[in-house]
């Protein structure tokens, strides 16, 4: 390799394509994966993945001070570098020959796998669909995100829902509700709180209207475990044309929506799981929970649902069971959980435009590795043949 005469651009490309960089990336990735796994005990899966894998940089939060220091490249950085390294090496280092055809396939498969993960990371949406036997549902609920739903219920035939994403509530303090004369002023936001009936010793509630006046709100640290949820508490003040309708407490821990009237129109307020409305509906006809005889070990869960899509004229029954999802209109519906004495079925609904890529990638890499190892084994055995005879005799 005539290294000394290389153009600086070529030298940079060589460095980007170098095997040392590949190894450094692989080792960094291993460190990140170990750190992420260990952190899951403390931060929950989502928290750990966000901190280590889906971030560009891993930060170390200095305890006691509001300071944070970058300590390690995050999974996103390492992944992008590895991807670039892979692509550039393909062009610069790896010769296009039959001998290397296996490696070409492997690397093409890996590139697809990476692209698939980037697509999932950016575009995958996970929602839930809780549905009771006999119920018909045409919306999905986010398992984590909340929204403030302001519903105009004046017309008994049709509700008009205005959803304000929760992120706005935590950042802004005056939010105009489009399509209505209303604005929402946020006076206090708790990420996690405990609600209890207000005792005499408690301070006066911030709320001046609704059920919040009789409740005490205590702030709690946010939960990190995967099986726990924060209980949000937000004090809001609906304002229309300069007129305030009092301060209300909304929380996902409160049941019934609270109502107020503005200019003859009745609105309800509730903080609930963010919804996504579907152009079709599902009806749960039957949920089955089979167990092995004489035990409580579950054998199978399945939901028999009726799918109704008037726009496409579709009316059909579908059985969704473990390992047998329903894929429909870009979404996949999986049997995830159940409740209420086996009358409630919870479906996990995932939309991931890149879901097919891992399948293709797996085939490419497997075929590539088999080809490569078969070719090199063949070569090595041919070389070994003469040497074997004296050793084996």
């Amino acid at each position: 390799m005539p290294r000394t005469k290389a153009h600086p651009g070529t030298r940079v490309l060589d460095a980007v394509a170098s095997l040392k960089l590949t190894i450094a990336c692989l080792v960094c990735l291993m460190v990140l994966v170990v750190a992420c796994t260990l952190a899951q005990v403390r931060m929950g899966t989502l928290g750990a993945v966000t901190a280590y894998i889906r971030s560009a940089v891993v930060w170390w939060h200095l305890p006691g001070m509001g300071l944070r220091l970058p300590v390690f490249p995050g999974g996103l950085t390492v992944g992008v570098v590895l991807l670039i390294n892979l692509i550039v090496a393909q062009g610069r280092r790896l010769e296009a020959s039959w001998r290397k055809s296996g490696l070409w396939l492997v690397h093409a498969g890996l590139i697809l796998l990476f692209v698939g993960e980037f697509i999932s990371g950016a575009r995958q949406v996970e929602m839930q669909l809780p549905i009771e036997e006999g119920q018909t549902v045409a919306f999905l609920e986010s398992p984590r995100d909340l929204e403030l739903a302001i519903t105009d219920v004046t017309d008994p035939a049709r509700d008009q829902v205005h959803g304000i994403p929760e992120a706005l509530l935590s950042h802004e303090n005056l939010i105009a509700v489009p399509g209505t004369p209303l604005s929402i002023k946020v006076s206090r936001y708790y990420q996690n709180a405990d609600l209890s009936r207000r005792a005499d010793a408690d301070p006066i509630s911030l709320a001046t209207a609704g059920v919040g006046t009789s409740l005490a709100v205590r702030e709690l640290p946010p939960v990190s475990r995967d099986d726990e949820r924060d209980l949000r508490a937000v004090f809001i003040e609906p304002i229309a044309a300069g007129k305030s309708y009092g301060t209300w407490l909304v929380s996902n821990g409160l049941g019934a929506p609270q109502t107020f009237i503005d200019e003859g129109r009745t609105y309800t307020l509730s903080l609930r799981q963010r919804r996504e409305y579907l152009p079709y509906s599902l009806t749960l006809k039957k949920f089955s929970h089979d167990i092995y005889p004489g035990t409580d070990i579950p054998k199978n869960f399945s939901s028999l649902v009726h799918l109704s899509n008037p726009a496409r004229g579709e009316e059909r029954d579908v059985l969704i069971s473990m390992n047998q999802p329903l894929r429909y209109a870009g979404k996949a519906f999986y049997q995830a959980s159940f409740g209420k004495n086996d009358t409630l079925s919870i479906l996990q609904v995932v939309e991931n435009p890149g879901w097919l890529l891992p399948y293709i990638s797996c085939v490419l890499v497997a075929a590539g590795l088999v080809l490569h190892f078969a070719l090199s084994l063949g070569r090595s055995l041919r070389r070994r043949q003469p040497a074997l005879i004296p050793a084996g005799a």
Partner: protein, 527 residues
């Protein structure tokens, strides 16, 4: 010259015959037809099994043994079950329970001595207090329990199991028939007992012939103990091979290989029997993964031996087979090793593809690690290490790492696809997934380092040994972390074993890299 060919075959054949002999009926014990009783089918844990399996698994959970010394003779699991069912006064006085935790012993007013076994009768006065303590412990989440809480909850569960097993009745037996068997045993009337059991079995056979057949086959499997026998043959193979390095290499290496093959046959037969009995692919839980890892490692080792000769393949194969069966043996004390599969795992297709592939990947990684350990031992202990041997070992390890990378990668991606099929995401950074990914990344790192010329013989071998650390963490460490969808078996005592293993591997890595001038003649390397 002919002896060199005949003796290895003869010894291997002898080992096979000895293994097959375990299948012979044990005959009557004190005149009682225990086999007839043990083969009766029973419904427990969601499946039909012979009473023999119930007896063995229960005794294994309660006393950590499948038989024990009682009143000067060996009490088998079947007799123990009969006493528990029909002679409660005798059974309550037998030392059925093992208790190791000093705090639990303290609760029973006992000091820790060499005697670790206790009877139900001895614990009876303390039952209310035991129950109170255990209820408190059970309220704590399993992973957050202290050692005492763990131990007391475990003892209480065993007491409950003891009482529950005492209520067992053979499947399909009428109360009268069952009482007849019981009365005969209680009065120790052998002819009456044998007649009652024979009538019951004959009845069952006409009504449900398949159930009786299945139970009988499983009882034969229990009696043969193929994995225990296989373990012994692997040790013999290993010892023969060690002997071959001192003298008679041609004869002894051949014998070792033949013994290894005999062990592999027994191991394979056991594995096949499990597959047939359970109607499932080979790997369904942690226990069977250990058995399968050993099996795959042995087969690859035999192939290596055929390619390279010189006994190294035999050595690592026998050592890996033995080690994995030992691990399996310790994992078996959790109870039924053929338990039913929970809903999400109930898919023979994915168990056969993802689980088997990823487990073969594990065995490849362990085998490469074993080669690394062998290399380390050879480098420091051989009197005149010739470069050719080092080269051979390194090229064996390289081949095995390629093999491991292939299976662990394909297995991991198949696992992602299974996850996509069953809960809607390809990759969720679940600990078990991360563990599998680590193995893939590490194998890829080793291969790229070698292709780039950054490591040579020693470096490659040290990296292969570190592969042992990664693989064991992924295999067991994840279950100790106790988070994630895959945590199917939380183990407490295994933690120390794992820490010790990892420590030993790191020492071995350093030894592998250390210059040879340091002579470790008097400190044999831990294999």
């Amino acid at each position: 010259m002919k002896l060199i060919k005949v003796i290895p075959w003869g010894i291997a054949l002898l080992a096979m015959v000895a293994s097959a002999a375990t299948l012979l009926p044990q005959g009557k014990v004190r005149g009682f037809d225990l086999d007839g009783f043990a083969a009766l089918p029973v419904l427990e844990g969601g499946r039909i099994k012979p009473l023999d399996s119930l007896a063995r698994n229960s005794l294994l959970v309660i006393r950590s043994q499948q038989s024990f010394q009682d009143l000067g003779r060996t009490l088998g699991a079947d007799e123990w079950l009969l006493d528990l069912l029909f002679r409660p006064e005798v059974s309550d006085a037998q030392l059925s329970f093992v208790i190791n935790d000093p705090d639990v012993l303290g609760l029973l007013g006992l000091r820790q001595t060499s005697n670790r076994y206790f009877s139900f009768k001895g614990m009876e006065p303390f039952l209310p207090e035991l129950e109170r303590q255990a209820t408190a412990a059970q309220a704590v989440e399993a992973q957050a329990r202290t050692r005492f809480e763990q131990a007391i909850a475990n003892l209480f569960e065993r007491l409950v199991l003891f009482r529950r097993v005492a209520e067992t009745k053979a499947a399909g037996a009428s109360p009268e028939q069952w009482t007849r068997v019981g009365r005969a045993w209680a009065s120790q009337d052998a002819p009456a007992f044998n007649a009652a059991v024979a009538d019951l079995a004959a009845d069952e056979r006409t009504q449900r012939p398949e159930t009786v057949q299945a139970a009988w086959r499983e009882m034969l499997f229990n009696r043969a103990q193929p994995f225990y026998v296989g373990m012994i043959i692997y040790v013999l193979a290993l010892l023969t091979l060690f002997a071959s390095w001192m003298g008679k290499p041609a004869l002894l290496q051949r014998t070792a290989l033949m013994l290894l093959c005999a062990g592999a046959l027994v191991h394979t037969a056991g594995l096949a029997a499990r597959i047939l009995l359970q109607g499932r692919p080979p790997v369904t839980n942690l226990y069977s993964s250990a058995i399968f890892i050993g099996w795959a490692a042995v087969l690859v080792g035999i192939v290596l031996e055929r390619i390279y000769r010189r006994g190294f393949g035999t050595a690592v194969a026998a050592a890996s087979g033995f080690a994995s069966l030992i691990v399996a043996h310790h994992l078996a004390s959790d109870g039924d090793t053929m338990e039913m599969m929970r809903a999400v795992l109930d898919s023979n297709f994915w168990l056969a593809t993802h689980v088997v592939t990823v487990t073969i990947g594990y065995s490849g990684a362990f085998l490469a690690g074993a080669l690394g350990l062998g290399y380390t031992a050879w480098r420091h202990l051989a009197r005149h290490p010739d470069p050719a041997t080092g080269k051979t070992l390194a090229s064996m390890a390289y081949g095995v790492i390629c093999f491991a990378l292939f299976f662990s990668f394909v297995g991991t991606v198949l696992g992602g696809i299974w996850a996509d099929q069953s809960w809607g995401r390809f990759w969720g950074w679940d600990p078990k997934e991360n563990g599998a990914l680590l193995i893939v990344l590490w194998n890829a790192t080793i291969l790229h380092s070698r292709w780039g010329g950054f490591v040579r013989e020693k470096g490659l071998m040290a990296m292969a040994i570190f592969g042992n650390v990664i693989t064991s963490l992924s295999w067991f460490g994840v279950n100790m972390l106790g988070v994630g969808l895959h945590s199917y078996g939380f183990m407490d005592s295994a933690f120390f074993a794992l820490s010790f293993f990892i420590g030993s591997q790191i020492v071995a890595m350093l030894l592998c890299l250390a210059p040879r001038r340091l002579q470790f003649r008097h400190q044999p390397v831990a294999l």
